[in-house]
Symmetry: D2
């Protein structure tokens, strides 16, 4: 998983835009998160939370906005993940349209916490993975 660029499609709906005609800036963080959930596996995330009480938490995010996306745009979220330690996952993510970009770039850093809010090691992201399993 770590050597690949993960690609995830996003459609811009009414709900995503604001009165200036472009996507409201905070919503790109939503797009990035949807992509991360699919990269990690939605079912695996559900299982991790329900069985172990462990969830991913964003502790840092950086965003650069280069061009505003518009209603009806079909976007691609490109994500590359690196794991600098057993406690931190760093996602470099960007927004592309018609193969052109990046229109928005971001780095989002996550850790895992348990039910008590304590830091725990990440599940193993380096093994081959299918939708529905982490590690």
């Amino acid at each position: 998983m770590l050597d690949q660029v993960h690609s995830f499609p996003v459609q811009v709906y009414y709900e995503d835009t604001d009165f200036t005609g472009v996507v409201y800036h905070a919503n790109y963080l939503k797009y990035f998160e949807r992509a991360r959930e699919h990269l990690l596996g939605v079912e695996a995330l559900v299982k991790l939370y329900e069985e172990q009480g462990v969830g991913f938490v964003v502790y840092k995010a950086e965003l650069r906005f280069k061009e505003g996306m518009r209603f009806g745009d079909r976007l691609e979220v490109r994500t590359r993940v690196t794991v600098p330690s057993e406690y931190r996952a760093v996602f470099d993510q960007s927004i592309w349209r018609d193969g052109q970009g990046p229109k928005v770039e971001g780095r989002v850093e996550l850790c895992c916490v348990n039910r008590e809010g304590r830091l725990v090691p990440l599940p193993d992201l380096r093994k081959p993975r299918h939708e529905g399993s982490v590690g």
Copy 2:
């Protein structure tokens, strides 16, 4: 509480609008809910949920949109609540601007459920109440 009209102010921000220039239709449900939370008492709702595991749940909503509100508008949410049975609270809510309205009208019906999702009687809404206490 039951014989009064409760008034709650809402400001329209960037986040609330869409590219057509007006407030995105689903967001009026958010405005209505903020008003209901203040009418019921935010602290009381927190306490009810944390101590008894009981929360209010919307089971029915009806909305009529007459005029779109815009960025920068200072709105008033007017709410009147009736309690037709010990299990149901009916909130008649509307959006006003500069004392003129209703611009949007709604009826939202709620019940209370416990941690297992079972229906439980409402807390007593008929007694005098201060912010921070239900019943």
Copy 3:
């Protein structure tokens, strides 16, 4: 288009839920709208707005909530549209999970307005249509 049930998939993400563990009630209106946009054709809606300044506007919505959907759920939005007059389109929409439902039911009524906010006739929804064209 008018005799068919349109089916649209929706995934429940973090962003859709609230602290009670289920999808925040207003967000089902977002799911319904995404489905309507695909039924009508996203590109056609963009073209209609950019070339003629005409857009669809919700003037009435009714919702019944039967069961709360959860993080990770893969939902289906089922939509049937009727056109009682040349000015009104009525969408009967519902949420299904694993082929079971409806979990949420709604009726959303729309009209079309031009740049001045005047009511205009709907584009013809009765002709065969492909994604990218209305009528």
Copy 4:
């Protein structure tokens, strides 16, 4: 305006949280923007956009999340603005609760663009200002 810390209150509602029990990370960007709008003056922003077609645009944002805020929390957004050039405004913003914090810290950088999306100088933020006027 430039030498002061601007304080803005935010209440955490159902709509702001996700199923893990805390505020969804992207929503702090909404809180920060509401505070910036009040600091700059909502009416002035409306006037600037309607009369000159000029609006503020976020081109960079950095966020650090230290503790998750919860339903019912009454927060304070503290904002300090600096203007390193006539084209850039830098907002250092943070979230406080019960006078304790920062729970979330951010730096959000904005510029102004006109209707054609061209960069234009900022309105003068250094003069005394009242709600309802920029510069």
